[in-house]
Assembly symmetry: C2
Homo-oligomer: 461 residues x 2
């Protein structure tokens, strides 16, 4: 162990500073699996004060830090491949306080999303940010990417639910931001700057999360649809006529993979597109409205088939068809695009994107799914089994560059909810102007003067 680590061990005694090869590999990578983990060591602080100590140590010794949560990220934001110290929040996973009057829960950043769901539910409330990696992703990571998921349509992104944030900046300063207030017009809302910053400005150590009243009783419908236009027509009709809690879509190819992974096929026939629609169901009027909309869809031609779950178990089965996609594809290490446009721009964008992708990937399986009600599409490309991984990624990056141009023309974003990290960095300026990136760099210098916070992620120094 080098002298720098000897100094760090003063702050983190015993088994809270790791550098065994297994640990370096485990903590040095996220779900991308594209970079070879090579951190200097792994720090597992237990308190805010220890995090402050680590950041000040890093400034003094000019060591780069990679803040690390559940490492379920898909953009390489938590990868440590260049001798960085991994600053894992794993041991800081406690609930600090619950307040029934404020409807908030204060947590350490390392707590899993699902644990927050459970606390909220125990108190008759909900934390409405939700997505498939809920069991292993951490709230700190959710905040660092402003995570979205399957309930954004109704409840918004993570940003909406952060009433207070405690961070340690790259300068080693501890800031307690907004402290749970509903209204506070006292200067720059620095809290917002750390949300979505992917750990490049500082480390999120604690958060005060807003909780919501529990969702209404809902019903879940699965629709079979002919094409993208039908998906959008279905969304517009359902949004106007129902109180939507979620509207998600996936293609027949996504369904094929989920069914191969063990899910039950929903229809006897094969249809090109599917939408999972969850809507408030507080009485017979809601059910009648849903059925009338479905029948209108059959008449107008955008709906081809449909089923409404008759029980919670059936609803879960329908949801599994959508939520199981990522897991079903995972063994194939898909190349992932996570793009968004305004909803109004979806038809034109989809038309161009579909044409681009079928022209550029004639021989690849391309799986489309996602949060169509938010203008957010996941496009997963599967590597042919006989192709070398490096060749595959190179080809996908070439097409992503073209896709970024299409997105720029339609005012879209190259990353809707995964973050930029390492994976999307080459395409950032398709979404954010040079002037915006220059402003971001200037802000990074202001809060992280030595450039120790997750360097090389998001943009190069």
């Amino acid at each position: 162990m080098d002298a720098r680590l000897d100094a760090l061990r003063q702050i983190l005694p015993g088994p809270r500073l790791l550098n065994a090869p297994d640990d370096l590999e485990h903590y040095g990578r996220d779900w991308t699996r594209r970079w070879t983990p090579a951190p200097l060591a792994v720090a597992l602080p237990a308190t805010v004060e220890e995090v402050v100590g680590i950041v000040r140590w890093a400034r003094e010794h000019r060591v780069a830090l990679v803040p690390s949560g559940g490492r379920t990220g898909l953009s390489g934001g938590a990868v440590a491949a260049n001798g960085e110290l991994v600053l894992s929040l794993e041991r800081m996973n406690k609930v600090l306080a619950f307040d029934a009057i404020d409807r908030t829960v204060e947590v350490q950043a390392g707590i899993a999303l699902e644990a927050v769901h459970n606390i909220a539910r125990e108190h008759g409330l909900q934390y409405p940010v939700d997505f498939a990696s809920r069991g292993s992703c951490s709230i700190g990571g959710n905040i660092a990417t402003n995570a979205g998921g399957i309930r954004v349509l109704r409840y918004g992104n993570t940003r909406e639910w952060i009433a207070g944030l405690t961070v340690v900046t790259g300068a080693g300063e501890l800031l307690r931001l907004n402290k749970g207030l509903v209204k506070n017009s006292s200067g720059y809302d620095l809290r917002q700057l750390f949300i979505g910053a992917e750990g490049t400005l500082g480390v999120v150590v604690e958060a005060t999360l807003r909780l919501a009243a529990p969702p209404p009783p809902t019903r879940t419908m699965l629709l079979a649809l002919a094409d993208f236009d039908a998906v959008i027509r279905a969304f517009m009709a359902m949004r106007a006529g129902l109180r939507l809690e979620a509207f998600e879509f996936f293609t027949s190819l996504a369904l094929k993979h989920v069914v191969e992974h063990g899910a039950q096929p929903p229809f006897d026939d094969d249809y090109p597109f599917h939408a999972v629609v969850e809507y408030a169901h507080e009485g017979e009027a809601d059910e009648a409205a849903a059925l009338a909309l479905f029948e209108r869809g059959l008449v107008e031609g955008w709906a081809l088939d449909g089923v409404i779950a008759g029980s919670q178990a059936q609803a879960a089965q329908l949801w599994r068809l959508r939520e199981g996609v990522t897991e079903a594809l995972a063994p194939r290490l898909p190349y992932k695009n996570d793009v968004s446009v305004r909803i109004s721009a979806l038809p034109a964008f989809l038309h161009e994107a579909e044409a681009l992708i079928s022209a550029e990937y004639p021989h690849f399986e391309v799986v489309w799914f996602g949060h169509i009600g938010d203008g957010n599409l996941h496009i997963n490309v599967l590597k042919p089994t006989d192709m070398a991984q490096a060749d595959f990624v190179r080809d996908c990056e070439r097409v992503t560059r073209l896709l970024a141009e299409v997105l720029a023309r339609h005012g879209g974003s190259i990353s809707a909810e995964h973050g930029i990290g390492l994976v999307k960095k080459p395409y950032l300026t398709g979404t954010r102007s040079e002037e915006e990136v220059a402003a971001m760099r200037a802000i990074k210098r202001a809060l992280d003067p030595d450039g120790i916070m997750n360097p090389g992620k998001l943009f190069d120094p």
Copy 2:
């Protein structure tokens, strides 16, 4: 006219650069009336390009800029008393685009809040930020202070409704931020930084505002209450049992002034406190729930009397009792506090604040009202007629300093929705730590390197 203005006239020909004494006075002040207006001149740009030209001119000539909207601010954020150029957005008040699919309206920053309400209503939607100065305040000013108002309880602050923001930074760069996207995880959300920055980082020139589905049918109830504890008990009971759209309170002294100003007294008897409660009324069950809650209040002792409006006109009359307070007090030039704490901290804070204020202002009329459901209180102190204005302000500032200490102990904010401007600047560090203020200064230097944007507001350089 000096040589600097000759150069500026190249950018702003004709009557769009003013420096007649009347104009300097009119555009140099806001609703505070505490500083003597003394701007260099007043610029009235008509396009984004002209704003860019003005900012670049200001950098070149080292002239300070004061962005200016409806100048209805209560903290002096739009005061120009030191030879600044007033950059008025008055002529940039157009609607640029409405989109029914995205449910957004794109506007120039100088448009009045009420004009946005009207556009939304014409399209069967609502823009839910609302407060009494709606007719004269501008959207740009709303954004600069993250304006709140009477619907925050249900719909949140201005921040929640800004889908895209076009700004000119103090460096003279034009940034088009977020472009109306629902999901966008592509680096720092700079949009959030300009919201609530009081024009100290740049000028907001255009905004894309989200619109919401229209509110449900509502009923309005006025409650008479015995004390602050009763107000909070009433709020907790009503929040649990009804779908609240608003919950506002005011004291008997506020009522007295509004009635003197022409409003109808609601009850025969005089009660210490009142709350205006607006709740969703979609059927008889809602009405029964409201009545049951009121009767419970009578039994439990927190409600002393009450009335439910039987018509729209009656509801407007009840609302006028609350909304008319600011206007009724205006001729007295009240000294205003606009403070907030977490809702859970309200009882303890109110207890201390009330004791402080009755001890420190034994001979002054002190009017309490505000958005109790958001933890936001307005405390307006009226000058005795025989007291000199300067002595009065000095005394109020002494008490505000003590109040700021109480707030700091309860984790509150010295400005909930009015901003810091000039008025609250001496108390900022009671709400934001020295480290936070240092971070804000560093960010200001990053985006406004020459310090030309509204200097001396919020904090000193």
